[in-house]
């Protein structure tokens, strides 16, 4: 549990840093919607998370990460997968892509 709290604190710090938000703005219960974080911000945050935790967030996982709670759970799962040495993506991958006009 304590580990999860530490992880959550790191996630919050990364979101605040990536979004140039003042410390304390992002709370454990915050959602992207409340924080007005859109999909472009989302890939920015994902990039920062990947660097911080040395993980690879699959495209299918990203749209599911829409809150501090989602991200913390998703990162915990990816870190566990990494530690176990398996290279599989987490279960229940949604088949959505992060849309853009390009």
């Amino acid at each position: 549990m304590e580990q999860n709290e530490q992880l959550r604190a790191r996630v919050i710090a990364i979101i605040e840093q990536a979004m140039k938000m003042e410390a304390g703005r992002v709370q454990p219960a915050s959602t992207f919607e409340e924080l007005a974080i859109d999909s472009l911000d989302g890939i920015n945050i994902a990039f920062a998370l990947e660097s911080e935790f040395n993980i690879n967030i699959p495209d299918d996982e990203l749209p599911k990460m829409r809150s501090v709670a989602d991200i913390t759970a998703g990162i915990a799962e990816l870190l566990a997968t990494k530690e176990s040495g398996a290279s599989v993506t987490p279960a229940n991958s949604a088949s959505t892509s992060n849309g853009s006009a390009a």
Binding site: D38, S39, L40, I43, A46, F47, N56, D59, L62, S95, T96, S97, N98, G99, S100, A101, A102
Partner: protein, 406 residues
Amino acid sequence: MKRRVAVTGAGVICAAGSTAEETWTALRDGRTAIRELDEAWAREGKYHVAAAARGFDPLKHFEPREAALMDRFAQFALAACAEALHNSGLAFSDELKARTAVVMGSSGGGQGSIDEGFVELYGKRSGRVHPLTIPKTMTNAGASHITMKYGLTGPAWAVSTACASSTHAIGQAFWMVRDGVADAALAGGSEAPLNPGFWRAWEAMRVMAQDTCRPFSIDRKGMILGEGGAVLVLEPLERAQERGAPILAEICGFGMASDAHHLTQPSSTGAAAAIRMALNDAGLNPAEIDYVNAHGTGTQANDAAEAQALSLALGERGRRVPVSSTKSVHGHALGAAGALEAFATVMALRDGVIPPTANLTALDPQCDVNLIAGSALEGRLRTAISNSFAFGGLNAVLAFRAPDAL
């Protein structure tokens, strides 16, 4: 007085073909040119699939010394231009050279050349970069090489509006010929984005598909990068008829509008505004549009917004008019995309054949369009539009009329 403007020639290089006719055959057949890349830089990452112009050999088009002066994107521009001029039969008098416009679109210009330079600088720590890096990289290099090759001294410039670049280029050139500012125009665009650094940047955007490009399909995963170039020859219709030029289509409308909304998320209202403006410019009613060549990137956001834009701009006709996205065949060639798709639209009108969308699994119910997929639809086509919607919300739409409707 406004003049009517004919498309009298086209030149194309892309993954689907190394000439206009070769490309058109692949488009008619809906034969996708999207393949796995073999290059190590592509194999190392998460995405391995693109539409590369494998049939293009620069040395079939240029002397080695000439080829060395050009980035791949400029080679595409010049080679496509040579074919377009050849097909049009247009000959330049000294007077016409001074009255011919060259307008070429490119999103990134010579990205491959600057990438090579940075490999030298940061990768190999050589402390130096090739002296031709700047003139090869500049986005106007394609347009400049065309003017020098043919001695064209009229207005010439480059347009860079990301994925709408060459649609904006053709539209501007069309207006100049229509308004009597130029008596001929070479217009289109080219792009060569398949290099390691640029590929990584696209990878980071998370908009590319790992499988293939499936426009408007329920299971679409994103866009697939392509490369190539396409050029159209535009002339006043009357002059073209006088000299007995082949008339592929009439270009009759151009519209552009900005979303003023978001760097990457499209807005259906901005797209619809550009469609309406193109129709107004052409004096066309929605009921007269027989084909829409969609921007159709295969991303979730674009295809849903574009379907909505068609309904907003065309009303009930927006749900009935046949639509296809040829990006499923030639990939998304960014600054060359609009010109490739303008070409597809012109050929559809010339032959009365709507090229199909490839790779469809099932139409997404969120995209309420009459999608032509799998095989071509034949029939008489009067007019058609070609949509391009860029990152940054810059939208451009061209309207064309069939040659037999003239």
